[in-house]
């Protein structure tokens, strides 16, 4: 079955369809990771986005439920290069889940050409379409909708009874990240609409990863909460959480040309270099931290953006990359170790 990827600006690609037979709009991005397809596809940060896999030969290995980073495939659509997708267990499972989740896919298109287009023009809006009709309306998803869709609907508590208490603001969290945090204490998981008041009850306020634009006004309440909590309770965050924390304290998130999506990005603390898992379309330029009390202590090797921000006095620490891996290297820059120290032993 023929299916098309249409890009705003008039470029189109034709391939064969798999997954659900529906049309889907989204921002077209690409990931360069050669492993961890299922983790990536189910990562809520990809909500609102059509995911292009640069690595061409996919779905060789079985789909495992425990690789899922959320309850469903979160990307709006999936684009693969493979010319032949044979009947293998991996493919069959993902094809049927995509159908169940209403997520369309295309395979057999020139993904390298597509990636170079995105690289040269920047992230572009597109539609996966069965008709190839270029009159389609390119739309963007609202950050609030994406966060609502991908985060918990109900507030709940994990690891009840543990000594330390954590407030976990779920903006569209990956399962593996939540798991790492719950290991540290009783975790109260709340969402963007929850009433956020008594930070004093907690030993840590944690802001998760998630989809969308960190400067979106819908995140205003969370930022205000962070500003009030700062200095009173340790605060930490990952990815969108990092951007929200920095944003709350006065830094300005910047939209990147086409984002970072992959498991091979290098980050340095000035001495050591770490290979990290990235998945973000916005970042915090290091100079933007001036006056916030936060200091950049790890940087992206190539664009110099802040990868880890720390305010020692006020016990704040956040990272742009994904220390939980899944996919990618796990905690290369010792974030979780730092978190543990911050909560249990000593000041940073």
């Amino acid at each position: 079955m023929r299916r098309f990827l249409l890009l705003e600006g008039g470029i189109s690609f034709e391939g064969k369809g798999f997954g659900a037979s529906v049309d889907a709009p989204g921002e077209v991005i690409f990931t360069t990771a050669f492993s961890g397809f299922y983790e990536a596809m189910t990562d809520p940060s990809y909500a609102g986005q059509i995911m292009t896999f640069a690595f061409p030969s996919m779905f060789y290995y079985e789909f495992w439920r425990d690789t899922m980073q959320s309850g469903r495939i979160q990307a709006e659509g999936i684009i693969a290069r493979d010319t032949v997708i044979p009947h293998g267990k991996g493919f069959e499972a993902i094809d049927s889940i995509m159908k169940d989740n209403g997520v369309p896919g295309i395979y057999g298109i020139d993904t390298r050409k597509l990636i170079k287009t995105i690289r040269d023009t920047g992230t572009v809006r597109g539609i996966i379409s069965s008709s190839g009709n270029m009159d389609a309306e390119f739309m963007s998803h609202s950050t609030y909708d994406l966060i609502r869709r991908t985060s918990t609907k109900k507030e709940y508590i994990l690891n009840s009874g543990m000594e330390r208490k954590i407030l976990y603001i779920d903006l569209g969290s990956k399962n593996s990240l939540l798991k790492r945090i719950t290991d540290l204490g009783e975790t109260h998981v709340v969402n963007i609409d929850s009433r956020l008041r008594d930070h004093d009850e907690y030993d840590l306020v944690f802001i998760s990863n998630g989809p969308g634009n960190p400067s979106d006004h819908s995140l205003g309440r969370v930022k205000e909460f962070i500003r009030n909590a700062a200095g009173n309770v340790p605060i930490a965050g990952v990815c969108l959480g990092h951007q929200v924390i920095c944003g709350a304290l006065g830094a300005e998130a910047q939209a990147m040309r086409f984002g970072h999506h992959g498991i091979n990005h290098s980050v340095t603390d000035g001495k050591r270099v770490y290979i990290t898992s990235h998945n973000h379309n916005y970042h915090i330029p290091s100079e933007s931290l001036e006056g916030t009390g936060l200091k950049a202590v790890q940087w992206d090797m190539n664009d110099g953006a802040c990868e880890m921000a720390v305010d020692q006095e006020n016990q704040i620490m956040s990272v742009q990359y994904h220390p939980e891996g899944s996919p990618g290297p796990v905690d290369p820059g010792n974030f979780f170790e730092g978190l543990r120290r911050m909560m249990f032993y000593e000041k940073l």
Binding site: A33, R81, D82, V84, G90, R119, G262, N264, V273, V330
Partner: protein, 1011 residues
């Protein structure tokens, strides 16, 4: 350290002759290392005895010592050149062993030489399996169960072994040479009694053999401050039990989840840390999916075959970056040479897949098909495609093997099942045949141990292809090409010729396009000139390139077509760039310097078969293509390329001339017509009565077919029953070629002559005389050259004949003539209209840039009349892989068997002799066998003994050298020498050259010497 870069005087250890387990990959890494050192201003000195390398080119280092690689010679150079730093990690096991020896003997301390790279104590820890296992276990890293067995107490330990099957190997191996799989107590007893009774070894470690598990490799680089990154991982398609050098490998891994991949990656980096690796290392793992366990199997604390493969697979130049790291830089300071503006500390990502397939010398060593823990392949080839299936199929045709029989008809079930079940060099062919024969994917996977999920990707496209008839293939050609099936495979399957397929594709507009390897999947803009072909996508090669010239490489390293050709192609590439041309390199060998993307204007990593070469011509519209550096591959392809693209496309000697030279019957006819002497000859079709023709000619004869690589299918037949056997074998193989039969001239002297030609004029490059008599392949003979070799009258006649042939065949460029002398007359054996195997050696002896001059002629230049003013003598000493092929009878003949060669020089013949003896490892206790009797000669004393007594001396092989005066027939003695690593000589002429003073002794022994 950084302040003293300019005071750095570095000795780089080279890898020596090409042997199995140590091939062209160390020319690549060693040359990169030298390049980096010179760029940073270090005084760079090299020791390597391999003349075929680019590394030993005078451009590579400040001083190049073409000498035997051992600690003694290294020490001399350290003193002479006031060396203060040494690099031993760019030359395989030879490099490490030499480094450790220098360290052990205190040479490094004595002269304050700093080791650049992983320090000797850690190298030892990685190499000594006992220490290594200890270190791993201490740090919670799982290694296979193991036990140390000592010569004195092996009997007691025998009962304690509870992990069969186990692998027995000695430490410090080369390509797993001494590995064996032991299945039960009885085999263990046999092995121990064998190994320890010979007294060669005092102890050995045995370890649980993890046969059948999935094998993975991780390539890591690490700097001295502890930063480390993984360059890529590789999945061995053949399960554990097959040496990684013998296995088909895909990179990156396809069948494991990210969590498992990350576990191994983390462990690999941890191991690199524990071993304080500086530079590159390779870590091998075995995965037990059932137990969810990973075992660390081995670490190579150096650049390796795998790191060369990883460099070419990812575009990340491991040896280059590693050299920067071991000379004191840290990862964060280095710019990624691929993008030019990002950091080198990143992990490459691929938007394509790479498959490596090894190559075995099947024709030269037909006896043993089995492969296993010991390496037997001579080289490898790599396929790059956009998808796994495309790269797999491209790798298959890159082998340049004729696999048609596996595609054309169903072979006996018993045969294919046997070779699929037990690892074999024909396993791949048999798997293809099983697909053709209708075996299920699951069944083939179960028999072979190949992952079904991987096999499926090849299985389905092949099933579809096999089901198509000619018409359906034509209708679906575009789809087949996009699926990644090369013309050659379509041709094997359907019988449609490759030429017809190319013509049809050109007519309907299906051309290959080229994609860039940028190590970042397109994420960063890159200036690389490294490309591969695919179908149905956008082209990134930039289209037609004015001033471009294609140079065809020589493909995978194999016997008779090795590194020598790569030297010549790289020299030609550099020359073309120097004169402002744009050389485009096409080659399929990941080990080589020619596939270093820094060398050519653009590098196209593609199979050397007509489809891809023709496609490249169509895309780049070059001024022409040079096939003279491509060995026999280019000679064989000149015809089809001329037919498709016009005869002007071949630069240099035209394809008509190549045909007339390569077709032995036409060539012999030409010689006859022009009154050039040659052995008496005749032609026979295989239906003719060959025996009758042989009788007419008179035995012995040399029998061969036309168009050959390195004398394959060539045989010397001495008796009538041998002729009958040859004929019946020939009928069985069903080969329909014409045969060329010539009288074999006994006891003639053979010579090699290289020369350049243009417009009927010639320029002599050099001549060498074989020490063995005619009948031993020129690649296998020990040859010497220099002042006064050969005698003047021989020279003159050879030059006269070369001139005649040059104008007769309108030769343009390189040529090589093989001829012999008997009773004062010169007979022509063979002419090659291409750069020969001996070009590098002649270039290095004379110091003249012969490749440049020859290339100039190919482009239309005139002969320059260069005088060779070099003095002294030189010898070429071949090395043989008999130790890998125990069933071979270790004898020499018209089929080439050597994998590589060493070069030694001497100002006088006496000095040459001395150096030859050292290079060959000949020792001072000579054991001489004649037909009836034997003797040992030492210190000028002869001790006569029986043959049995002499053979018992083999039990203590140290310091022994064997000479079988009737060598050709004494195969049992030769095999024993091979098994015990005793150097041996079988040719009396070689012996008398090396030991002229011993001739007296032979007279006394009454040995049948005729010299």
């Amino acid at each position: 350290m950084k302040n003293s870069e300019h005071d750095l005087r570095v000795l780089v250890i080279g890898a020596g002759p090409i042997v199995i387990g140590q091939a062209a990959e160390f020319d690549y890494s060693g040359t990169q290392a030298c390049k980096v050192l010179r760029e940073m201003g270090a005084y760079t000195v090299l020791i390597n005895s391999n003349p075929a390398t680019i590394q030993t080119d005078s451009d590579t280092a400040d001083r190049v010592y073409i000498r035997t690689v051992n600690w003694k010679n290294a020490e001399k150079i350290i003193v002479e050149e006031k060396i203060n730093a040494i690099i031993g990690c760019m030359a395989g096991q030879t490099g490490l062993n030499t480094l450790l020896e220098l360290d052990k003997r205190g040479v490094l301390d004595k002269y304050s030489v700093r080791v650049l790279g992983t320090q000797p104590e850690y190298v030892r820890m990685a190499e000594d399996r006992i220490l290594f296992h200890e270190l791993m276990r201490l740090n919670g890293i799982r290694v296979p169960e193991s036990m140390n067995i000592e010569a004195g107490s092996w009997k007691q330990k025998l009962d304690g072994i509870d992990f069969y099957p186990f692998m027995a190997r000695t430490s410090f191996t080369l390509g797993g040479k001494s590995g064996a799989i032991i299945r039960n107590r009885k085999e263990a007893e046999e092995l121990f009694s064998h190994v320890f009774s010979e007294g060669r070894q005092k102890e050995m470690e045995i370890e649980h053999a993890l046969g059948g598990l999935v094998e993975m490799e991780y390539e890591v680089i690490r700097d001295s401050t502890g930063n480390s990154i993984m360059i890529c991982n590789m999945e061995n398609i053949d399960p554990m039990g097959v040496h990684t050098g013998e296995s088909i490998v895909v990179t990156p891994s396809l069948t494991i989840h990210d969590s498992l991949h990350q576990r191994m990656r983390r462990e690999a980096l941890k191991i690199a840390d524990l071993l304080r690796i500086e530079g590159a290392c390779n870590v091998q793992f075995a995965i037990d999916h059932e137990k969810d366990e990973i075992y660390t199997v081995e670490v190579n604390p150096r650049t390796s075959r795998s790191s060369a493969l990883a460099s070419k697979a990812t575009g990340y130049p491991i040896a280059k970056i590693a050299t920067e790291l071991i000379t004191g830089k840290i990862l964060t300071e280095i710019i990624n040479p691929i993008t030019g503006n990002t950091s080198a500390s990143f992990e490459p990502s691929q938007d394509y897949v790479v498959v490596k397939i090894p190559l075995w010398p099947e024709k030269q060593f037909p006896e043993e098909h089995d492969i296993g823990v010991s390496m037997k392949s001579t080289g490898e080839t790599m396929g790059i495609g956009r998808t796994f299936e495309e790269s797999f199929f491209k790798a298959i045709v890159s082998t340049e093997l004729d696999l048609s029989k596996y595609f054309m008809r169903k072979l006996p079930a018993e045969y294919i099942e046997q070779h699929i079940r037990s690892p074999s060099r024909v396993r791949l062919g048999c798997i293809i045949n099983a697909i053709k024969s209708g075996y299920s994917c699951e069944n083939i996977s179960e028999m072979s141990g190949w992952d079904e999920r991987i096999l499926m990707r090849v299985y389905e496209p092949l099933r579809r292809l096999f089901s198509m008839n000619r018409e359906e293939i034509m209708q679906n050609l575009r789809e087949l090409k996009i699926t990644g099936i090369p013309d050659r495979i379509i041709s094997w399957s359907s019988g449609i010729s490759e030429k017809e397929l190319i013509e049809i594709r050109r007519k309907i507009g299906i051309f290959p396009v080229y994609r860039i390897i940028d190590s970042s999947s397109g994420e960063y803009r890159s200036g690389t000139r490294y490309l591969y072909s695919t179908y149905g996508e956008e082209d990134e090669s930039g289209g037609p390139l004015e001033g471009s010239i294609i140079i065809m490489g020589s493909g995978p390293n194999r016997i008779a077509q090795g590194l020598e050709f790569d030297y010549s192609s790289v020299k030609a590439v550099r020359y073309l760039r120097k004169i402002g041309k744009k050389p485009l390199m096409i080659n399929s060998n990941p080990e080589t310097v020619s596939t270093d993307f820094d060398e050519s204007a653009q590098l196209f990593f593609d199979p050397l078969v007509p489809e891809y070469v023709s496609g490249l011509i169509d895309m780049k519209k070059p001024e022409g293509i040079i096939v003279q550096f491509s060995g026999q591959t280019g000679q064989n392809m000149a015809g089809i390329l001329s037919e498709i693209h016009g005869r002007e496309i071949i630069l240099g000697t035209s394809y008509e001339s190549i045909m007339n030279i390569e077709d032995r019957n036409l060539f012999s006819k030409y010689l006859q017509e022009n009154e050039v002497l040659q052995p008496e000859w005749t032609v026979a079709g295989y239906s003719d009565s060959i025996l009758e023709k042989v009788r007419e000619l008179g035995l012995p004869v040399i029998i061969r077919s036309s168009f050959i690589i390195g004398g394959s299918l060539m045989k010397i037949l001495r008796r009538e029953d041998e002729v009958s056997e040859y004929v019946s074998n020939l009928k069985e193989s069903g080969s329909g070629v014409e045969l060329h039969i010539s009288r074999f001239m006994e006891r003639a002297r053979e010579f090699d002559m290289d020369f350049l030609c243009s417009s009927g004029e010639i320029q002599v490059v050099g001549m060498m005389e074989h020490l063995e008599r005619a009948g031993v392949h020129s690649g296998d003979a020990i040859s010497i050259g220099g002042e006064g070799i050969p005698e003047e009258y021989v020279k003159e006649e050879a030059i006269r004949i070369a001139g005649l042939l040059s104008s007769g065949f309108s030769l343009k460029g390189f040529a090589n003539l093989q001829f012999m002398e008997k009773d004062g007359r010169i007979y022509v054996i063979e002419l090659n209209s291409r750069a020969s195997r001996t070009m590098p050696i002649m270039s290095k002896h004379s110091g003249i840039q012969w490749i440049e001059y020859g290339t100039e002629l190919i482009l239309g230049g005139k002969i320059r009349n260069i005088t060779d003013e070099s003095h002294g003598f030189y010898a070429k000493i071949p090395v043989f892989p008999f130790d890998r092929y125990h069933n071979s009878n270790a004898s020499l003949g018209p089929e080439m068997k050597s994998t590589g060669e060493a070069m030694v020089s001497g100002r006088t013949l006496e000095e040459l002799r001395k150096n030859m003896i050292a290079e060959m490892g000949l020792a001072d206790h000579l054991i001489v066998f004649s037909k009836e009797t034997a003797a040992m000669i030492h210190d000028g004393k002869i001790q006569a003994m029986s043959r049995d007594e002499a053979e018992r001396l083999f039990d203590h092989p140290q310091d022994k050298t064997v000479f079988c005066s009737n060598g050709k027939t004494d195969s049992a003695i030769r095999k024993k020498c091979v098994a015990r690593d005793i150097p041996f000589i079988t040719d009396d002429r070689v012996f008398s050259f090396l030991y002229p003073e011993k001739m007296e002794i032979f007279k006394k022994m009454d040995l049948p010497l005729q010299n």
